[in-house]
């Protein structure tokens, strides 16, 4: 569905979008969680051999029934919820010719790469590491132990935006970035222009709880949402289908929804009636199979709410 080009969408249409958004959230919330494949009693070294081979469903996926035809999306990713490796851990062996993504389960930058990998269906093993205190064997792979990092045959690449472009070059048959030089540059510029979403998220989590800071945070979010609404000129930022800009910005937009849980924010609904295109966009993105497999929303509602609010 193509949204009207102007900002005069009727309230009824807004409510329709919000209802759809709410039903998606409720639908996900009622999915029973699957038991993780990891057996905590197995030794760490052995556990990687017991990880199911490619082709089986990822251990964390709770794919809604109505998307059963997409159940294979994300099946290329193993070890999504493997236990985090800390200092003192042994480096898991990596078979030559296999890809490994060093990740942290709640890192939005790593999630960018995971969505890309799921969309491109590239077989990969995920190893979660503690980026605050990295294992000694990890530090030579990535400067100051940052995640995400992608490794194959002893070669390591880091920086989420560099990794995803690298994946498009390695597997060009299902490239996500446009091939046209200008369109490709435009997608990158879009990510830059949408970056107020990221900034608003970090400022919200990083600021104090005094009323003045709270008002400023809400203003920043409104400003970022107005900007995002203006820049959305098609079904997705990538055009008729989600693209590079959508996948790189989604993890931050997903997390920004948590504002509604905070007593420090005036947001009771996200994004609210003022941003109808973004509201519909969020509903569409949440229904993308490659996004659904890595949805952090419900988990965050539960865990982040417990810890922060």
């Amino acid at each position: 569905m193509v949204l009207p080009g102007n900002c005069s969408t009727s309230a009824a249409l807004c409510m329709q979008f919000l209802t759809q958004l709410a039903s998606v959230a409720i639908d996900q919330a009622y999915q029973p969680p699957q038991q993780p494949a990891y057996n905590p009693h197995e030794k760490l070294f052995v556990s990687y051999r017991s990880v199911p081979p490619p082709g089986s469903s990822p251990s964390s996926a709770a794919v809604p029934i109505r998307f059963s035809s997409y159940s294979s999306v994300g099946s290329n990713i193993r070890g999504l919820n493997s236990p985090t490796l800390h200092p003192g851990s042994i480096e898991p062996p990596l078979t030559p010719g296999n890809y490994r993504l060093y990740s942290m389960r709640f890192c939005p930058y790593a999630q960018r790469v995971l969505i890309y990998l799921a969309k491109k269906n590239i077989p990969v093993e995920v190893v979660n590491v503690n980026p605050d205190r990295s294992p000694n064997w990890y530090l030579p792979k990535s400067p100051i132990g940052r995640v995400p990092a992608l490794e194959i045959n002893g070669k390591v690449v880091w920086e989420s935006n560099v990794i995803v472009e690298y994946l498009d070059e390695l597997f060009p048959t299902n490239t996500i970035l446009p091939r046209d030089a200008y369109e490709k540059a435009h997608q990158k510029i879009l990510v830059e222009r949408l970056s107020p979403i990221m900034n608003a998220l970090f400022e919200f989590y990083g600021s104090s709880n005094n009323p003045q800071a709270q008002r400023q945070n809400d203003m920043n979010v409104h400003s970022a949402l107005r900007n995002s609404e203006n820049l959305l000129r098609d079904t997705f930022y990538g055009g008729r289908q989600p693209g590079y800009a959508d996948y790189l910005m989604w993890p931050f937009l997903e997390r920004l929804q948590l504002l509604t849980m905070s007593p420090n924010s005036q947001f009771r609904y996200f994004p609210g009636l003022h941003y109808p295109k973004i509201g519909a966009y969020i509903a569409r993105m949440q229904n993308q199979p490659e996004v659904l497999g890595f949805c952090k929303h419900d988990f965050f509602l539960k865990k982040t709410g417990e810890k922060i609010w």
Binding site: V162, Y166, K184, A185, H186, I189, E192
Partner: protein
């Protein structure tokens, strides 16, 4: 020289948009801006015949907002299409003009150079520290210590004559403008204890000193850069919030 208009006067609010004929290439530049210099260096290195339009970015042009949403430099325009952001323009130029590609075509080699350029952005972040010293000389010892750390890291990252290998490439052109700004700062009294001759210093940074001399004396850099004297004066005015003369030295 394939670049025309490098020393043209900066256009400002009220000036009409110069016509750009079909097939022609234009770079919107600010002469003393390190981010714009990245694009200028890349255009020059690729040998693209381009017209340079210098902008007064304080007194912003009305029509330029449709090309850059923040009214800043750099931007490149070609056949009605505008690309902005100094981080994206170089790769766009390599994609659009592949016959003079600077980045390697091998995916892993290409990524290595992009990551190297990313690590060298620490030099870009060091420049504002020196702006702070220009405003308040008492901050010198504290700020220049960090600048020295950054230069040491840059020295360690230099494994060959150039960051890209035996010839200058992507990481060299993207980081050079910021080394140059530190060099300009070194010529001002009491800002940073670094030499302007044989910058940044053979004793502490032997590889980097050789690299900088090769870069500053190259045809590519000389075709787009400004003199030490004018660059330092402009930087000082910028840092201390004085009125800016975009046509300084013309």
């Amino acid at each position: 020289m394939v670049l025309t208009g490098v020393t043209s006067k900066a256009i400002r609010k009220g000036d009409a948009e110069p016509p750009l004929s079909k097939g022609s290439f234009r770079v919107y530049n600010m002469r003393f801006c390190p981010w714009a210099e990245r694009a200028m260096l890349y255009v020059a290195a690729k040998g693209i015949e381009a017209e340079v339009v210098n902008l007064n970015v304080t007194d912003k042009l009305e029509w330029y907002w449709t090309k850059h949403y923040q009214g800043k430099a750099p931007a490149v325009e070609h056949n009605g299409k505008v690309v902005i952001e100094s981080g994206f323009i170089p790769e766009y130029l390599d994609d659009a003009f592949p016959e003079t590609r600077i980045l390697p075509t091998d995916p892993y080699e290409k990524v290595q150079q992009k990551l190297l350029a990313d690590r060298l952005t620490a030099v870009a972040h060091a420049v504002p520290l020196l702006f702070a010293v220009m405003r308040d000389r008492t901050l010198k010892d504290e700020k220049q210590r960090k600048v020295f750390e950054v230069l040491k890291q840059a020295e360690n990252l230099l494994a060959n004559d150039f960051y890209a290998g035996s010839q200058p490439g992507y990481p060299d052109y993207l980081s050079f403008p910021f080394f140059e700004k530190i060099w300009w700062s070194a010529s001002l009294d009491g800002v940073v204890d670094l030499p302007t001759i044989e910058f940044p210093g053979e004793e502490e940074y032997p590889k980097l000193t050789k690299w900088f001399q090769k870069m500053i004396s190259s045809d590519v850099v000389q075709s787009v850069t400004q003199s030490l004297e004018h660059g330092a004066a402009f930087m000082n005015a910028y840092a201390t919030h004085q009125e800016l003369n975009y046509d300084l030295g013309l």
